[in-house]
Symmetry: C2
Subunit: 243 residues, 2 copies
């Protein structure tokens, strides 16, 4: 039972599924791998944990995302850990998976810090074959995003700081992948009391300009979980336990 060297050479990486809206559809940010394995192939932004540099796995995820894509997302949370002997040809490995949301304008402003790197955007409904088990990681992230969005203000992290009701409604629809009745959605959102009007801020033409909203100031940097769903994507889903 004493630890042997063979038990201390497990590969430990962080991989981040970064979502953004683009052309009004939900996209995921991918990078090209600079070296083997899977050199030149598409993959999630990811990399080794650096013991000397990274205080914890969250810091590692922030560093990797900054280095590979130049992006610092306002929302980043641990997704799941993918840990087995088969997912990486180099040996037994752990991917500490994170998922993040960002407003498209941040993407546009982002510059890759590391020369030769950069990122590409792919519609979540047509993600190509990725390196390692990264397709599975994207699938798990997408499910988590949808489950959590139904009960929270999470999709608002995809929006700029100020947005119209039409934008937030559309964003929930894109994230959930379902049509949401506009007036029922507006009523629920009002009941939840999570948005506030930006006083005097309207956009659009002189005729019926649209009111701008933002997530309430005290909630701006927190995720608000709700006690009732804003939308129920799939009431009958089940999660498998160990038989």
């Amino acid at each position: 039972m004493t630890q042997t060297n063979r038990d201390r050479n497990i590969i430990v990486t962080v991989d981040v599924v970064l979502f953004a809206l683009h052309d009004k559809r939900l996209h995921v940010v991918l990078t090209r791998r600079p070296r083997e394995p899977y050199a030149g192939q598409l993959a999630l932004p990811g990399g080794y944990v650096h013991q000397q540099e990274d205080i914890d796995s969250l810091a590692a995820a922030v560093r990797v995302l900054r280095t590979k894509t130049g992006i610092a997302p306002p929302y980043l949370e641990q997704l799941y850990s993918f840990a087995d002997g088969a997912r990486d040809p180099r040996g037994w490995s752990v991917s500490l998976g994170y998922f993040a949301l960002v407003d498209e304008s941040v993407l546009r402003a982002a510059q890759s810090v590391e020369p030769g790197f950069g990122f590409e955007l792919f519609d979540v409904s047509s993600v190509p074959r990725l390196s390692f088990d990264h397709n599975r990681i994207v699938d798990v992230a997408l499910q988590r995003l949808r489950d959590k969005s139904a009960y929270s203000t999470l999709p608002c992290y995809l929006l700029p700081e100020q947005f119209t009701f039409a934008q937030v409604h559309e964003t929930y629809e894109h994230v959930m992948g379902v049509a949401l009745d506009k007036s029922a959605f507006r009523r629920k959102l009002t009941e939840m009391d999570v948005l506030e009007e930006c006083k005097g801020q309207r956009v659009g033409g002189a005729h019926r300009p649209a009111q701008l909203f933002r997530v309430k100031t005290d909630l701006a940097h927190r995720l608000r979980l709700l006690d009732r769903p804003l939308a129920v994507p799939n009431p009958d889903k089940t999660a498998t336990g160990l038989a």
Copy 2:
């Protein structure tokens, strides 16, 4: 950016928070550490991932639990990964945390496979100081259990295969840590259609013997997630994003 040896000696362990009911209260299973660090101290059942033996982290969790406590729980799922440079005095480490539920009768039958090992039960409301960051891991597991129980049949894994309505009601109360109105709870449970009567099976005296129920056969080894809460523990909870 090439991997160096210093990046391939991160400690990778699995640690399991195993819950059971005992004296009608929710308890957690703890073991004594056989060696340094924290020799003789209480800790979660846990251990190193064995690359040669463990296909994946779930297999590692099952093996560690069997070896340290003799218990094979019917429900085991990944909780969260605790990964930083400070939680283990031996160096940068990852704990792949799992949580599990088991019927008390399985606990009583369990025998420790490894001589000198064994386990102790502690009421979740009075867990003593544990090794490493294991108190934090217990807290996270307890919160997950409560959140998930409100919307699922998860607490039924704490019960024997057949149980009375009084037992399931009491179990939800113990898990959630709140009183639940009996008739409202019965009505919701009926609407959810997750239990079935065990035909002809009743327990108790000759007067008004209680009907026995079980989780519906098609759901017996699956966790059923519900679209409405059976109980709402804390409607205003928030989760912090990255500011």
